[in-house]
C-alpha cells in the first residue's frame, strides 16, 4: 500500500477507532491528525521532486478502476487540510470533550482527502456524501435548538445538492460511457454533456454555499461549536470549491459558459455576503457572512481564470482557498475564545470595561488582515496574482468589483478590530488581560501561518506549477 491510499484510509480507520473507544478518542484522533500531516508533507515532497503521483487501486486502470491522483493542486489542498486540522485538533483535545466530535472530524478528514485525490466522478460523489453527513453531525454537536435546526436545513440542502450531482454524473455517463476525469472534456462537446456539467455545477454551488444558494450556511456555521465552525467554514466548503476548480481545469476551454456564470454569481456573493456582514449583530454571524463573501471571491477567481492551459490565473483561486482556510479557521477559533471570555458574542459588547483585549483578539486581527489582503499575508499573494492576471487579460470591471469587495471586507472586519484596538475611557485602569488558553495558541498559530505563508508563498506556487498528470 502506498502513501496515497494510506492518507485516505488512515483517517477513516481512526474514525472507527475513535467511535469504538470513546475514552481514548482524543488521543487517537490527535495522533491520526499528526500522522495525516506527516503523510501530506511526504506526499507534497514527492510531488515536488517527481511530479504527480498516481495509484490505480488494485491495479485496475481507468476507466474501469478507481484511480487516485496527487498532483500539485491536490497536494496544496491536502496540506491546507492537514494544517487547519492540526490547529483544530489542538483546540479540541484541550477543550471539554464532546462525545462524537472525534469520529465526525476523522470522517470529515478522510472524506476530504479522498475527494482531493479522486480522479473519478463517482468516487467524488461518494466522498461528498461522507463529507456532507459528517459535516451535518459537526453542526448538530452543539446540541442547541438553533444548531439542530441549522443542521436539518444543512442536510436538506446538501442532499438536494448531491442528488443534482448524481443526476449530472449519471447523465454524463450516458453521454460519454465513462466516469473518470477524462469524461469532462468529452462532456463539453455536446449539448446533453453540457447539461450534465451544468447539473453537477448546480449541485456543487449548493454544497459550496455560493450566492444565491448559500441560504443554509450562515446559520449552520454560526450555531456550531467553535472547533466545528472552523472545520466547516475553512475546509468543508472548500471541498465543493475544489471540485469546481478541478472541473474547470479538466474541461479546459470548453467550460467557458459555466465559468462566466460562476464569475457573476461569485461577484454577487462577494457583495451580498459583505453587506450582511456589515449588518450582523453577532460576531459569529459576521464571520459566517464573511465566508459567503470570500467564497464569492474564490468563485469569481475560478470564473475569470479563463482557459487554464493558456493562463495561470487559476492558481490565484487555489492560493485564495488556502489563505481563506487558514485565516477563517483562525478567526472562528479566536471568536470561540472571545465569546468564552465575554460570555456573549455581541459585536456592540466588545468594548468591555473589565477585560483588555487578549491573544484571541490579536489572532482575529491578523486573520482579518489576511482576509482583507494586506501584505505580507497569504491573502495578499492570492489577490495580487488575481489582479495581476486580470490586468494582463484586460478585465478591468472584474478588478473594480474585487476592489469594492476588498473595501467592504475591510469595513466589516474593522467593526470588530477597531473595537478591540480602542483603549480610552471605557477600558478600566484595573482591567485584566484574559489568561492564555490552548484555543488561543491554536488560533494564533493559524493566524501566524497565514502571515508566514505570505512570506513563503513560493512553496505552494511551486507545487501548483507542477504539470498535471
Amino acid at each position: 500500500m502506498s502513501d496515497i491510499s494510506l492518507i485516505v484510509l488512515l483517517p477513516l480507520l481512526a474514525a472507527v477507532l475513535t467511535a469504538a473507544l470513546p475514552p481514548q478518542a482524543a488521543a487517537v484522533g490527535a495522533l491520526a491528525t499528526a500522522l495525516n500531516a506527516l503523510l501530506a508533507a511526504n506526499l507534497g515532497r514527492q510531488i515536488l521532486q517527481g511530479g504527480p503521483v498516481t495509484e490505480a487501486i488494485g491495479d485496475w486502470a481507468a476507466p474501469l478502476g478507481i484511480a487516485f491522483v496527487a498532483d500539485g493542486l491536490a497536494g496544496v489542498m491536502l496540506a491546507m487540510t492537514a494544517i487547519v486540522g492540526l490547529a483544530v485538533s489542538l483546540q479540541a483535545a484541550a477543550g471539554p470533550a464532546r462525545a462524537g466530535f472525534w469520529p465526525l472530524w476523522m470522517a470529515t478528514l478522510g472524506a476530504l482527502n479522498g475527494l482531493f485525490l479522486s480522479s473519478d466522478l463517482f468516487n467524488i460523489y461518494v466522498a461528498f456524501e461522507i463529507l456532507g453527513l459528517a459535516a451535518v453531525g459537526l453542526t448538530a454537536l452543539a446540541g442547541t435548538r438553533a444548531a439542530l435546526r441549522a443542521a436539518f436545513d444543512y442536510l436538506t440542502a446538501g442532499l438536494v445538492g448531491s442528488l443534482l450531482v448524481l443526476l449530472g454524473i449519471a447523465l454524463s455517463y450516458s453521454v460519454t460511457g465513462r466516469v473518470d476525469m477524462e469524461a469532462v472534456v468529452l462532456l463539453t462537446q455536446s449539448d446533453t454533456g453540457r447539461i450534465a456539467l451544468a447539473l453537477i455545477a448546480a449541485g456543487l454551488v449548493v454544497k459550496a454555499a455560493l450566492f444565491p444558494l448559500h441560504f443554509w450556511m450562515p446559520a449552520a456555521h454560526s450555531s456550531a461549536a467553535p472547533a466545528a465552525s472552523a472545520l466547516l467554514s475553512a475546509l468543508v466548503v472548500k471541498g465543493a470549491l475544489y471540485l469546481v476548480l478541478r472541473l474547470s481545469l479538466e474541461g479546459g476551454a470548453g467550460t467557458e459558459f459555466l465559468r462566466n456564470t460562476l464569475a457573476v454569481l461569485g461577484a454577487g456573493g462577494m457583495l451580498w455576503g459583505a453587506w450582511n456582514a456589515l449588518r450582523a449583530e453577532r460576531l459569529k454571524l459576521l464571520v459566517a457572512h464573511s465566508t459567503v463573501a470570500q467564497i464569492g471571491l474564490i468563485a469569481l477567481a475560478i470564473g475569470v481564470a479563463g482557459n487554464p492551459f493558456e493562463t495561470g490565473l487559476w492558481q490565484a483561486a487555489a492560493l485564495l482557498m488556502l489563505s481563506h482556510a487558514l485565516a477563517k479557521a483562525a478567526m472562528f477559533l479566536a471568536v470561540g475564545r472571545i465569546a468564552e471570555a465575554l460570555g456573549h458574542d455581541r459585536i456592540s459588547g466588545l468594548n468591555r470595561e473589565e477585560l483588555r483585549p487578549g491573544p484571541a483578539e490579536f489572532a482575529f486581527a491578523i486573520a482579518a488582515i489576511s482576509l482583507v489582503g494586506l501584505p505580507p499575508t497569504a491573502g495578499f499573494i492570492g489577490k495580487w496574482f488575481l489582479i495581476e492576471g486580470l490586468i494582463d487579460e484586460g478585465g478591468i470591471h472584474w478588478i473594480a468589483l474585487i476592489l469594492l469587495g476588498t473595501a467592504l471586507s475591510a469595513a466589516y472586519l474593522s467593526r470588530v478590530v477597531s473595537r478591540c484596538l480602542r483603549g480610552g475611557p471605557h477600558v478600566a485602569a484595573t482591567a485584566q488581560r484574559p489568561p492564555w488558553r490552548t484555543g488561543d495558541v491554536a488560533a494564533l498559530g493559524l493566524a501566524t501561518g497565514a502571515l508566514l505563508l505570505g512570506l513563503a508563498a513560493a512553496l505552494p506556487i511551486t507545487l501548483l506549477e507542477t504539470p498535471f498528470a
Binding site: 436539518f152 448524481l166 443526476l167
Partner: protein
Amino acid sequence: MISDFAFLLSGAGLIGLALFRLATSADLLMRVLGLNVLAIGIAMVLLVAARGAAGTDAVPQAFILTGIVVLVGVTAALLALAERVAEARDE
C-alpha cells in the same frame, strides 16, 4: 418508445413537484418526504437513461442503487434531527 417517454415525463414531474415542495414548505416532515420524492424522480430519469439500443446498461442502475442507499441513511439522519428539533422545542 412510449413507455420510455412516460417514465421520463413522470420522473421530471416528480422532480418538479418535489423541488416546489422543498422550496415552499417549512414543515420538517414534509421536507423529508419531498427529498424522497425528488430522489425517486431522479431515479426514474436515470432508469430511462440506462436503456439504449443495445439493451440495458447496468452502470446507471448501480448509481441509482448507491443513491437509494445514501437516501435511506440520510432520511434516517433527517428524521433523528427532526425529532431532536421537536424535543428542543418542547423544553
